[in-house]
């Protein structure tokens, strides 16, 4: 069943701030098997000029899941079957590294939903700001809902 196009343009503010913790950064770095000390040791991070341990470049993907219940993907009205979803594209613009202790506010917006063959592509952007209101990062992602596009009639094909 096709995804609900009425979601295009909708914004989904995270209902709470996301507090970046040293231990979560460590756990994320462990999960990607990256031993870099800047992800674990505050002194090592400071030696590189950072105020505390920093997060790996793709860490902010956790926002997608921390606030999934309040985002578009989990909204039954979107009509998405998550088992049919694979990731299509992703980008991160990092205005500065994410640092332990950051208290981050985020808003997710559905930019586009479109058919590509029998698949549907859902593009969203997440804008992340810090407690001082400064922009931290922009995440753009496209997920693919496989095989859910409405069948096309021969006149449209």
């Amino acid at each position: 069943m096709p995804v609900n196009r009425e979601f295009i343009g909708r914004e989904f503010p995270a209902p709470a701030a996301y507090e970046v913790g040293r231990e979560h950064i460590r756990r994320f770095a462990d999960a990607i098997d990256d031993p870099h000390p800047a992800y674990r040791d505050p002194a090592a991070a400071r030696a590189l000029g950072h105020p505390d341990v920093i997060a790996p470049p793709t860490f902010l993907t956790v926002l997608n899941f921390r606030f999934a219940a309040d985002g578009p993907v989990a909204d039954p009205a979107l009509g998405l079957d998550y088992a049919m979803v694979v990731h299509g594209e992703q980008s991160f613009e990092l205005h500065r590294p994410v640092v332990a202790g950051d208290v981050l506010t985020s808003v997710q917006r559905v930019d586009d939903i479109r058919d590509v063959g029998r698949n549907e592509l859902i593009s969203t952007v997440i804008e992340v700001t810090d407690a001082g209101g400064a922009a931290v990062a922009t995440l753009r992602g496209t997920i693919v809902s496989r095989g859910t596009a409405a069948p096309r009639s021969s006149s449209q094909a």
Partner: protein, 139 residues
């Protein structure tokens, strides 16, 4: 960290091969919060038409970034990073898993000490990332 002035278009980054096994996917589920069943349940993955359990695209993206952040020495030097997931990384339930081969080359030099690195990531000779670019700032 490599210096901006010492880097030229065409400079190759040290290539690496990374193994991804089922246990890595389970760890990434927990750390990221992405528990999509296709990353840990073979029964459902095959039922929805995938060849087997597949790695999170975000795990592949994170691992591929390693050759850039290991090259710069400071992971905080990475300013932007984008990929397209051109093919799923299938992770069989065995002791080998998938072998992700990642290479990178400097494709452009920008102002402000920034360089563009193009990344290539393959499994079994097939590209799993396409149009993959990272921008890093060098001293």
């Amino acid at each position: 960290m490599p210096a901006y002035d010492g880097v030229e278009v065409g400079t190759a980054l040290p290539a690496r091969t990374f193994g991804l096994q089922r246990a890595d996917l389970v760890r990434y589920c927990g750390a990221s919060g992405d528990f999509n069943v296709i990353h840990w349940n073979e029964r459902i993955a095959t039922a929805v038409g995938l060849p087997d359990v597949i790695a999170h695209g975000m795990l592949t993206m994170a691992v591929a970034a390693r050759i850039v952040t290991d090259w710069t020495g400071d992971p905080g030097a990475l300013q932007s990073y984008r990929v397209r997931f051109s093919r799923p990384v299938v992770v069989p339930d065995d002791d080998t898993g998938a072998q992700l081969e990642v290479s990178g080359v400097v494709e452009d030099k920008l102002d402000g000490g920034r360089v563009v690195v193009g990344l290539t990531a393959t499994v079994g000779g097939s590209k799993v990332l396409a149009g993959s670019r990272a921008v890093v700032r060098l001293p």
